[in-house]
Symmetry: C2
């Protein structure tokens, strides 16, 4: 095994040792068969915590509460999460509700309120139904198989839960995420929780999570809209034992690689299951002057409505890729630029190549469409993910609250 | 008449004196009934010229040619424009084609090649069919009623031509624009041409055009994609006689006001006829720290897919407006922020108001939807325009080249 880690079949948030989870239907979302909308994750041991949160200036109440608790540096024990209501733009009352929701979880679990993190996703500008949550928290049965139910309970317009676990030597890392809409994370994804039973140095855990987010959640986009509720929290409870994993060691490098794998898997799952999406689009920009410029270009291409609709229609309209790169605010010399769809070169040094439109259309019809632009100006290189834009996206979002 | 100018019924590019125009079908676009795709505008007198062009780093050949001619400061005599092919990302050959297209117009009109401006719109990455253009230029019959045909010949996915003329005292200003897709102008619109028979000082003409573009074309968006071909050119031929209009005079102020009216009318027409659009969205941001911040916020709201789809579905999901403002990169204090749809207040000082969902849905169903955010932080104020996002937008763009 070259990478030093392997994916665990059907792995979840509760694959790492010492974590239990469960979920219930509290009546916050509209009921369909098997709907869950309230979940709890619990660590049997106090866990070292790292988190990153939305950079949207309009920040939901649960983001404010959880971020301040992550910043305290104190160990964490639990996460409570609901779908159906974002508890964002809800004023002072919203803050009180977020704190109360964490308190309810703490009381049910018999732990300190400050050791509970809280997250919400759903409609903005509506209050949480606190009575329903109070009534339902106590109904949540925690188990070591509960990770999958938690991933399901976080879903809004998602069509599938997004989860993974990897094993790296003596420990595991598990993760779950929700996506679908308002997905253009800035420092975190809409909602993603990660667990590990590794014992990890706190400062390194922080850096490792930021590094992983930068090459995964922070380069995925469904619709260009950064959410008010983006939350990514990693709990490391050390239940696997072993030496504390530190930065700058071989063990640290392995942990970072395994964590990157988990985050990239979840980020790609979010793009693939974007609202109305039928395919994953992977955009690689090579040869930018800086990595930051490569990221700006890759993000602009993955967010372009015209690129996304062309992919949806398998229309080999590659000029839209160039137009998007051109407006990304980066340096470009067209006479040095190459553009590929799949492995087919459409532009070489700024001059269009003759191409077989049917072959390019076929590449655009695959479940994973790859677009690559070679700027040939420097060493900046980034891969980002997005999805096509379909009529169904409009239908989903035209009547979300009604 | 309070404003000092009035709209001319059925006014066009050739309403100002001393301008003639005409159009033909050259076979560049697919043929449908009454299709035109090649047009000429001619000024009988040498005209003072101002122009603004796309800031996309990938710039079409006709943009490069026309911009260098505008910069020379020499008088201009004519504009040749085609639809169906953008002559963008076409390498060195594209530049030669753009120059040759202007040469053909000059020869047909018997004027200096350098006095001709050239513009193209349509698919990126394809060469112009030069033989067709050569064969067709000579077929264009110019007349003082030809402005309307020119506006029609510029259309791509537009459903209606966009044109206007106003009379201000002894002179006229006329204008035409094309829009529909890849509309998020940065210093100019996709394609817009303006004429006036006023005699205007060159330096003032430049400033006046930039001022007008900033509050019109530069705050309109259909899909967030800045085109490679954005071109706005204003020809002032002085055929109306009178004193040279200078900056800082009452006559200058009137000219600026009339020019603003023309540009705002055309910009709103572009948004209203955005690809697949069913309504115009007008977004006003007041009380931002600076005008630049107000513009960033207004642009972000008009470009948000989630706001656009909510308007399309008449879904009173106002939280999406706040989420968009929050990610615009501007200062915001939620506890000071108010939000209105039409005249209905949905958020007051950061706290949601109770509202009648049916009444808000009705406001969102009107042909012109107004959204207003009061930031209460400063004096920055901007109004921007966009349109809703419909299933039809996806259909139009999923198979644009095929």
């Amino acid at each position: 095994m070259k990478t030093g880690f392997e994916i665990v079949p059907s792995g979840t948030l509760t694959t790492p040792r010492g974590f239990r989870a469960g979920a219930t239907y509290a009546g916050i979302k509209k009921k369909t068969d098997h709907t869950l909308d309230l979940a709890l994750l619990y660590s049997e041991l106090p866990a070292t915590v790292a988190g990153v949160f939305t950079r949207n200036k309009v920040r939901a109440a649960p983001v404010l509460v959880s971020e301040s608790r992550v910043k305290s540096g104190d160990p964490g024990r639990a996460i409570i999460v609901n779908a159906g209501c974002a508890n964002a733009v809800t004023g002072e009352q919203g803050l009180r509700d977020a704190v109360a929701m964490a308190d309810m979880a703490a009381m049910s679990l018999g732990i300190q309120p400050e050791s509970v993190f809280v997250a919400s996703t759903g409609v903005i500008g509506r209050r949480l139904p606190m009575e329903k949550i109070a009534d339902s928290v106590r109904n949540i049965a925690l188990s070591t198989e509960g990770g999958h139910d938690m991933a399901r309970a976080m879903m809004t317009t998602d069509t599938v839960p997004k989860e993974i676990a990897v094993r790296a030597g003596h420990y595991y890392i598990g993760g779950a995420a929700k996506g679908a809409g308002m997905i253009h994370p800035d420092m975190a994804t809409m909602l993603s929780f990660l667990t590990t039973d590794a014992a990890v140095d706190h400062a390194f855990l922080n850096n490792a999570l930021r590094n992983a987010a930068d090459i995964s959640f922070n380069v995925v986009s469904v619709d260009g809209d950064t959410s008010t509720n983006d939350t990514l929290i990693l709990l490391a409870n050390g239940a696997a034992g072993g030496k504390l994993i530190m930065e700058g060691t071989p063990e640290g490098a392995l942990f970072q690689a395994a964590l990157n794998e988990v985050c990239i898997h979840l980020a790609k799952s979010i793009a693939r299951d974007g609202e109305g999406a039928t395919r994953l689009i992977e955009v690689t920009i090579n040869g930018a002057k800086t990595e930051q410029e490569a990221k700006m270009a890759a993000r602009t291409v993955t967010c372009s409505s015209l690129v996304k609709t062309a992919v949806h229609g398998c229309d080999p309209n590659w000029g839209r890729v160039l137009a998007a790169v051109g407006r990304a605010g980066i340096d470009i010399e067209l006479s040095k630029t190459d553009c590929y769809i799949g492995e087919i070169c459409l532009l070489r040094q700024g001059t269009p190549e003759d191409f077989d439109a049917k072959r390019v259309s076929h590449m655009l019809s695959l479940p994973e469409v790859t677009i690559r632009v070679e700027l040939n100006l420097g060493e900046g290189s980034v891969t980002a993910w997005g999805c096509d834009l379909s009529e169904e996206y409009v239908g989903i979002n035209a009547d979300y609250t009604t």
